[in-house]
Symmetry: C2
Subunit: 114 residues, 2 copies
């Protein structure tokens, strides 16, 4: 049992999963969304994956799941109070990510100009 000094992985593990950042983006942006609404915002994700990633985010107390007992079923997802603490992290990553995409683009054009 080693005391890991670097807790970056702790944050990373929450975010990895091909769709989690996008799911979180939509939930932060829209507030509350039904399952089908999330699905419509991400046409390429399968139902299985959407369910799975939402469950994982729920397990981490990032996302809240509210089931309305009615027919047809209605399930709403939103960011938990605690989950909101993730927003600055996502913003920093988003901004660095944008800058990095630009950096690499310029870099490649230099390389290809040989």
């Amino acid at each position: 049992m080693k005391t890991e000094i670097c807790k970056v992985n702790e944050a990373l593990n929450i975010l990895v999963g091909k769709w989690k950042p996008v799911i979180l983006y939509h939930l932060f942006h829209e507030g509350t969304l039904r399952f089908s609404e999330l699905k419509r915002l991400m046409p390429e994700i399968t139902q299985k994956m959407l369910t799975k990633q939402l469950r994982e985010l729920e397990d981490e107390d990032i996302v809240q799941r509210v089931v309305y007992p009615q027919v047809p079923p209605k399930v709403e997802y939103s960011i938990t109070e605690y989950g909101k603490s993730l927003e600055p992290v996502l913003n920093v990553m988003h901004e660095w990510g944008s800058a990095h995409a630009k950096h690499m683009k310029e870099r490649r054009s230099k390389v290809s100009s040989y």
Copy 2:
């Protein structure tokens, strides 16, 4: 070809890889390290993985690789000037990650007290 609004993945893709955060942690902390020194700091990583992840970080212009043409070989790794822009990102993730670990620990102890 869709314009992705969420660039979090852009940052994520640089960092994922089981060992990258730890590698970066050591390089930020120590400045410059030889391959064997990195290996010693992470006894569990295999040579193959260390090489691979360093290459990937090099491709992203985060890590610099300097080969000294001598026998026995000597290769030093360090963070590039550009790579230093990653430090605040890592810090934010590290801090949130630490807080999250604590949060989940407390949360679990509550749940188990049924």
